[in-house]
């Protein structure tokens, strides 16, 4: 049995531990927000957090998630349902077209804001370059990240 803690919930899963984390999340835990795009870490659609760091779940064996805090797009909002500022900004800027890559985009952006609360355009380019959007929503992804960063900064000021 493989023991994983995903979005704060402990799971015991009967699965080969070498299975990529992506497929354990999707097929075994029903957390289908994390998407399969390429299977080779090229596209970023499968991005999740391991202890707050973005990883490509298609290329990480599930066993490497043991003992780690795994966060998926389903766990990004707070427990009471309040959306993460990035999720709000994505809605506000009407970012998605097909929407398939956006969970991975948001997870990469969330990790970026954790380590760099006020990223420049160049910082966004560095952090987001390998999250591919086939529909080409990059203009809005950039705006939404800046907008969420500003929102987080304002909240911080108020505190």
């Amino acid at each position: 049995m493989l023991n994983l803690t995903v979005n704060g919930i402990a799971h015991s899963i009967d699965v080969d531990a070498s299975t990529p984390l992506l497929w354990v999340l999707r097929d075994d835990l029903g957390l289908v927000g994390t998407k399969f795009g390429c299977g080779k870490s090229f596209c970023g659609a499968c991005t999740v957090h391991l202890n707050g760091k973005p990883v490509r779940s298609c290329s990480v064996p599930a066993r490497s998630g043991v003992g780690q805090a795994i966060t998926t797009i389903e766990g990004l909002a707070s427990k009471n349902g309040t959306l993460h500022p990035l999720q709000e900004a994505w809605i506000e800027h009407d970012v998605p077209q097909c929407g398939y890559c956006q969970a991975g985009q948001i997870m990469s952006a969330a990790a970026l804001l954790e380590r760099n609360p006020v990223p420049s355009d160049a910082d966004i380019d560095d952090a987001m370059q390998d999250n591919l959007c086939r529909c080409g929503t990059y203009v809005r992804i950039r705006k939404a990240i800046h907008s969420a960063a500003a929102k987080i900064a304002n909240k911080g000021d108020q505190v």
Binding site: W23, F36, Q87, Q97, G99, C101, T137, V139, I141
Partner: protein, 756 residues
Amino acid sequence: MKINQPRIFANPASAHLVATSDATNTVCGQINRRTFLKIAGISGGGLVLGVCLGGPSRAVASASNILASDFAPNAFIQISPDGSIVIYSKGPEIGQGIKTAMPMIVAEELDADWSQVRVEQAPINTAVYGRQSAGGSRSIAMSWDQLRYAGAAARSMLLTAAAERWGVAASECTTRLSTVIHTGSGRRLKYGELAEDAAALPVPGETSVTLKQRKEYRLLGTRVGGVDNRAIVTGQALFGIDQVVPGMLYAVYEKCPATGGSVASANLDQIRALDGVRDAFVLAGNGLTTELMPGVAIVATSTWAAFAAKQQLRVSWDESDAATDSWSDAIAQATALATKPGKETLVEQGNVDDAFEHAAHTVEAFYTYPFVSHAPLEPQNCTAWYQDGAIEIWAPTQTPDSGIELVAHTLGIETDRITLHQLRAGGGFGRRLMNDYMCEAAAISRHVGAPVKLQWTREDDMAHDFYRPGGFHSLKAAVDSSGKLSGWQNHFITFSADGQIPTSRGDIPDGEFPAPLLANYRLTQTLLPWKTPTGPWRAPRSNALAFVEQSFLHELAIAAGRDHLEFLLEVMGEPRWLQPGDDRSLNTGRAAAVIKLAAEKSGWGRPLPAGRGRGLAFYFCHAGHFAEVAEVSVDPNKKLTVHRVTVAGDIGPIVNLSGAENQCEGAVIDGLSTMLGLEITLEQGRVQESNFGQYPILGIAATPHIDVHFIQSDFPPTGLGEPALPPLAPAVCNAIFAASGHRARTLPLSREGFRT
């Protein structure tokens, strides 16, 4: 054809619609376990889809939340006494925003409070809904009247119900934000309060309702966020790949990497012995690339078990009938043919030779563009459940209507045995006009007798596409002593499977630019043999022809020593429809207006620093007029930076301004991504690129600043999935010339040494 007959039609007020559907659909007392779909996009609302147990496997809507007191005057609208309003979106959502745009049109005429509207994906039932496919940027144009009428008819009935209750004339009442208002007294009734009364009224005919004037619009033309945005950003199940049904198995399908090859032998016993594998078997297929080609299916207990087994699969292919296509050979052959006359003459108008003879300048050029793949980010997939001679299918498809026909043909069953649910698609771009994955899933489910989700790998997706065909154009054109374009000749070298007609979307259509604008024009064609399938890729034909024609036109402007803007406007000439009476044809007045607007907004003519340049291009397709100006810089090492792209378009009134701007931004990025580095090459019939490492979709860093401007003319609204894409490549190539003096005639630009 069948299916998904919503119970909302059981409402007496919509008896005329019941009559159009298969009567056997309407009675179904039981909902089986398939009702309990885990897919939020379908089961999240009041309409739950299921099938009858023990009877014909047809889907109907369950009556779970739909009461007799609901007001459902047609298949698009359901208003409940509690005030909730559901609008059904009939078309496939593939990222073009139709699931938001179509219901907006209904809501506008209904005068519904958009903030209270819930949108649901409609069941597939072309008898009721008409066209249910997404292609050719036709969804808005073909549904505009139907959707407006649906909303207006319902509004009229609600208004009548209120007037009757108050005992006043309907003409004294008005509507706003899901409320009927008596203007004299100020009395108000919410739509929900009128639902039961309205349901008892006759549905007015199309000629007896009044549609709004454009100036009365409150919702259309505003910026509205996508209706699925919240579900998308919170990771809820929406897409085809997210579908789950009870007892489902997971399948992969391995086909010959060279189209047309069949299975000689495979290590099936070894595969069957692997962990999690339930079965492995050969399907002979029916030889149709659009349906079912030969291959090996592996069915397992998880996606990963199936993928892992596929890596162990060893197939010996019989390639006696397989493709041997080679892109490098094609380039060599086309290059050799470039200086020769075309094999057949397709168009000969005026006197081209005379124009060349009397020219002040002639220009000759050879243009090349490659095959490209659609590469939607969601690899092809489909869930299918064959049971007792009938099949239920869940698919992210652009053409659910034709998918049913193809599955029927593949399985040899009637279409009324097929139930299809359309799911949100993770990108289409034309790939999902084809339903090969649907036929494969259907055949695999029938073979194993269980529900299966077929999942292609990225490598499968790239190896088995219906590619945008590559092509070659050997051009010669002339400008006369007054600097006017005076003659144009194109020897088009393209591909053909049968030696008779070009491969799908590898043709030049009648009336292609600049033929209708020029007296002296000649088009000849030579076909090279080709077996690998091709097909429509976003803005089919136009996506490549625009690059060739609008780049070459710039070459001619340069040769004539004239400003490109002025030259292009002169070619357009006086304002007129090129096909009089057809408002989907090119209108040179609309063309000139967007060309001038793009030029103005981009600062055309203003000086730029050395190494920077602007390029202009116009293209008309899918009834949309678009001009774009790119501003680029090129350094001595051919590092290309696209700083800014200005888009000006006329597709008539805009339905959703946010969605429309998003489509244009996306078209610019898609165009840039494709022209910079995307190329599918084949050798021995095998696609050489296998994943994004070799097929580098553009990342965020190269994104230019994009300005979008619309001329919202009074012509009927048309679609936007495609027409903003074609002008991008020539605009960038013309800008590269302006910046560097280098004329790019080969795509992708990586072939000419450019990098970003």
